[in-house]
Symmetry: C2
Subunit: 200 residues, 2 copies
Amino acid sequence: MIVYFDFLCPYAWRGLELSNLLGDRPELRHFSLVQGNHPENPDRKNPTWKLAEQSLTEGPGHQTASLAAFLAAKAAARQGDEAGRTYALHLMRLRHAEKRELGEAEVRLEAARRAGLDLARFEADLADEAGLRAELARDLDAAAQLGVFGTPTFVLDSGDAAYLRFSELPGSEEDARRLWSTYEAVLTSGARIETIKRPR
Amino acid sequence: MIVYFDFLCPYAWRGLELSNLLGDRPELRHFSLVQGNHPENPDRKNPTWKLAEQSLTEGPGHQTASLAAFLAAKAAARQGDEAGRTYALHLMRLRHAEKRELGEAEVRLEAARRAGLDLARFEADLADEAGLRAELARDLDAAAQLGVFGTPTFVLDSGDAAYLRFSELPGSEEDARRLWSTYEAVLTSGARIETIKRPR
């Protein structure tokens, strides 16, 4: 299983918490809401404005914060897939539960501390900015190719994929299992369900 | 239960077939894709361009056809709720299974024949154009208030509502039940699922 997510997105935070509750170990990939919704990218599948090519210091705050968070997550993942997942979960909690700023280096470092990373290695990996940008670009290209439009988007091993937006975090593993079963039932329905969406 | 639908929409056709397979008797209400997507209606909940006020002869073909089909369905429903549902199902089949034109009076009449309506009464009710337009306007206002954006949108007795888009018509009542259970599970999930949508 793969999950596409963006640190900016509270629904993606809940998606990572859901995977964590279930004990799932999805492959983490990034999708960028800033890139996906950028006015220079009218064709979702062929973006010309790419976040991975943007400045870390110039530009709107949420854009530079988003890029910095993605690169930090890629650096964390160099300590292993599990380290990458734990780091992403902690950075999400810092942002969405504690309302800290992704744009602050101290917040990104705090996530590494909480995730129990080797901090010296984390800093060293962060310094390979070109390599991290290349990894991010691969994720964002894969997301574009699949047509991802929001996060979290899970891709099952069957290849079925869908955006899953829910607003109440399951309080127990049992509730998490029920939510996941419902999501899987939608994706594997013989009726080929494409969308279920509440009006707002 | 209520179902909002538009005769223009093949997904709404499948929605009505689903209700029919299940033996459900939803209250039929109209939502207009032409009105909903009209450039003069940037605020979905407060439309200023209203289909029920438009000409039956002047304007884009799909717009006049859509209006004529809605008014015919309202005329049919004056012979009873069940007559209204049967008429809508037959007009949907003529449009989406047989690819006939909603804009042709003969097609709208053929649906009345197939539904076993009293044809003289159908023609007489059709002549009350102002009354039918007023009924249509009430449906479209209710749809706007709920924030309906596509069809079919079902409203459960619990008040939970969602657009349901599926592309494979269930072949049996059992398959229909499975699809409906999945849809209900999404709407009643404690996680408050707002959207499940495949990328395209």
